[in-house]
C-alpha cells in the first residue's frame, strides 16, 4: 500500500441525481497540512463534493482518495481519518455537550474511559468547559458549531471537512469558528472548507477552487484569483435615476473601466485601479456635471462579480476544464 502524497485527491468526479449532474469532471488536489477553500454559490456542487469525499454519497464517475484511501472501496479506512463538520453534520440537541462528545468517542471505539477523557480535553480546548453539562439546545450558534468542530476532532483526524461552517452565525460566532480552524491547521490538520463567502476563503484558505455547476472553474491562491478577477470596485448611487446614462459615461472615463448599471438601485459599479484617486476623480466629475450623488463606496468584488468574471473570461470555459479532467 502506497498512500498518495496528497491529503485529498479527486479526478473526474461525477455524481448525478436522477438525470441532473450535481458534480461532473470535478478535480481537486489538496496538499497535506493546508486549508483549501471550495468557493461557490448555492447549488454549485460544494456539498455534493464533500458528501462524496466523506463517503456519505457514492459517485458515478471518476476516482477520489482521502488520506491515501479510496473513498469508494476503502470507506471504513477513510472514516477513521476524517472529521466532518458543517451544515450536514450535527450534534444531539437534548444531550449535553459532554454527553455528545462521549457518545461520538464511544462510536469511534475509544472505550468509555478514554472517550470521557477526550471529551473533557476537547471541551477545554474549544472553550466549552463551563457549558459542557448544559443541553446543546441552549447553546448559541457559535458554541454549537464549536462543539460540532470538537466532535469532528475526537480522533484528531488528518483531514477535516468543514461544509459551510459559518453559515447562519453572527460575526462573533464566525470569529470563534475561524479561530478554531486556525488552531486545527497549527496542529497540522488538512482542512477542506466550503463557503459562499469570498472573505471567509480569503481569511482561512491557502488555496482556493472556485466551483460552479459541478466543476472547478478556477484555482489558485487568494491573491492569484483576486488579480484574475480584478481589483476593488467603486459603487455610486444616484439621487436621480434619469441621470444614470450620463453618469455612467463619466464614471467610465474617471475609472478607465466599463461600468455596470443597476437601474432599479440607481447604482453604477466599476473596477478601480487606484482606489481613492479614482473615487476622488469620479466624485469630482459628477459634481462638476451637477449629477446628484446619494452614496459612494469603495469595496471588494462580490462573489457574483467573481463568477461573472470567471464565466465571461473564456480562459476557463467548462469545455476546457472537462478536457483536462479526462
Amino acid at each position: 500500500m502506497a498512500p498518495t502524497r496528497k491529503a485529498i485527491s479527486a479526478r473526474g468526479l461525477g455524481r448525478r441525481f436522477k438525470d441532473e449532474w450535481a458534480l461532473r469532471g470535478f478535480d481537486l488536489e489538496v496538499e497535506p497540512g493546508t486549508v483549501h477553500g471550495l468557493l461557490g454559490p448555492n447549488g454549485a456542487g460544494k456539498s455534493t463534493a464533500v458528501r462524496v469525499l466523506t463517503t456519505l454519497l457514492r459517485h458515478h464517475e471518476g476516482t477520489a482518495e482521502v488520506a491515501g484511501y479510496d473513498v469508494a472501496t476503502q470507506g471504513s479506512e477513510v472514516r477513521y481519518r476524517i472529521g466532518l463538520v458543517g451544515q450536514n453534520a450535527a450534534v444531539d440537541e437534548i444531550l449535553s455537550g459532554r454527553q455528545n462528545l462521549r457518545l461520538f468517542g464511544c462510536l469511534y471505539h475509544l472505550g468509555g474511559r478514554a472517550a470521557a477523557r477526550r471529551a473533557d480535553e476537547l471541551l477545554e480546548r474549544f472553550g466549552l468547559s463551563d457549558s459542557g453539562d448544559r443541553p446543546v439546545g441552549t447553546y448559541s450558534g457559535g458554541m454549537r458549531r464549536r462543539l460540532d468542530l470538537a466532535a469532528g476532532m475526537i480522533l484528531a483526524p488528518p483531514v477535516m471537512f468543514l461544509d459551510e461552517p459559518t453559515v447562519g452565525l453572527d460575526p462573533r460566532g464566525r470569529e470563534e469558528v475561524w479561530s478554531a480552524v486556525r488552531d486545527l491547521v497549527d496542529d497540522g490538520t488538512t482542512v477542506l472548507l466550503t463557503t459562499q463567502y469570498l472573505e471567509e476563503a480569503d481569511r482561512l484558505a491557502r488555496t482556493i477552487s472556485v466551483i460552479d455547476t459541478g466543476r472547478v472553474i478556477a484555482e489558485g491562491t487568494p491573491t492569484e484569483l483576486k488579480t484574475r478577477i480584478g481589483g476593488d470596485r467603486i459603487d455610486v448611487v444616484l439621487t436621480d435615476g434619469t441621470a444614470l446614462d450620463r453618469a455612467a459615461a463619466l464614471v467610465a472615463e474617471a475609472t478607465g473601466h466599463p461600468v455596470d448599471v443597476d437601474l432599479e438601485g440607481r447604482r453604477l459599479s466599476a473596477e478601480v485601479d487606484d482606489r481613492v484617486a479614482a473615487l476622488t476623480r469620479s466624485v469630482r466629475v459628477l459634481d462638476e456635471e451637477a449629477v446628484g450623488v446619494a452614496d459612494v463606496l469603495l469595496r471588494r468584488p462580490t462573489l457574483d462579480e467573481v463568477f461573472l468574471h470567471l464565466t465571461d473570461s473564456g480562459e476557463h470555459s467548462p469545455n476546457t476544464t472537462t478536457e483536462v479532467a479526462r
Binding site: F17, R51, T54, T55, L56, L57, R58, S76, R79, Y80, I82, L84, Q87, N88, A89, A90, V91, D92, E93, I94, L95, Q99, L103, F104, G105, C106, L107, Y108, H109, L110, G111, A114, A115, R117, R118, E121, E124, R125, G127, P135, A151, I154, L155, A156, D183, D186, D187, G188
Partner: protein, 285 residues
Amino acid sequence: MSVTRTHPSTSETPVPVRPRGPLSRARWAVTDGWTVAGRDLVHWTRQPWEIGFGLLFPVLMVLMFVYLLGGSMSVPDGGDYTEYLMPGMFAMAMVFGLGETVTAVTMDAARGVTDRFRSLPMASSAVVVGRCLADMLRSTLALTVLVGFGMLVGWRWHGTFTEALAGFGLLLLLRFALVWIGVYVGLLARGQGAVSVIQTLEFPIGFLSNTFVATATMPLWLGTIADWNPMSSTVAAVRGLFGNPVAGGDTWITQNAPLMAVVWPLLLVAVFAPLCVHKYRNLSG
C-alpha cells in the same frame, strides 16, 4: 477568560480499537447499537414529559373506550367488553410506537445526526439496531404501564403464566416488525410531513381490525380486509392466550390467528429490514 489554552499534543490523541475479523466486528455492531440506544435513554431522563405523554395516551384511549363507549359495545359471543378490548389496546400501543419511530428517524436525518453517524467508522448497522433497541425498550415500558392500568379497570388474564408471556411476546414481535417499517418510512421521507401522515394512519390501521369491535359486525368486504390486517392476527392470538373473549370467525385467516401472529411480523421484517439497510447505505440528498 484569562486562561491560556494549551493544546494537547497529537501524541496524546486516543487510538481507536479497530475490529479485527468477523467475530470482533459482530461484537462491535452490538456495542455500537447499545451506544446509540443509550442516547435515547438519556433523552428520556432529560425529557420525561415526552415519554410520559406517550405512555399516557393509550391509557386515555382505554378510559374512553371502557367508560365512554364501552356501555354500548357488546361482544358477539358474549363476554366482558373490557376483557375483549384490552388485548386490542395492547396492540394499539404497539402501533402508536410506529409514529415514535418515524419521528426519531426523521429528526435525526433533518438535524444531520444521521450524517454524523454515517461519517464515523462505526458498524453501519448500529444506527438502525440502536433505534430498534430503544424503541423496543420504550414499547415494553408502554406495555407494562398499560397492563397495570388494564388490571385497574378490571381486565385479567386467565391462562397460565407461560401463555401470558407468549401473549406479550407476540405483541412485542408486532412492535419489532413496526420498527423496521418506521425506520424505512423515516429514511424515505426525511421530513416532518411523514410523521403527520403516519400518526394519522395509526387510527385507521387500528380501527380497520378486530381491535375495538368484532369483524363479524362489519360488512363482509370490510370485515375481510380487517381480518387480513396483520394487527388482527396478533390481537386474536393474544386474546386466546390470555383467555379473553376472541370472537373470531370461521374463515381461514381467523382460524389461524396464532400462526399468522408469528408469520405476519416475520414477513414484514423480511421485507423492510433489507430495505432499511439498503436505504441507510445509500442515503442521498
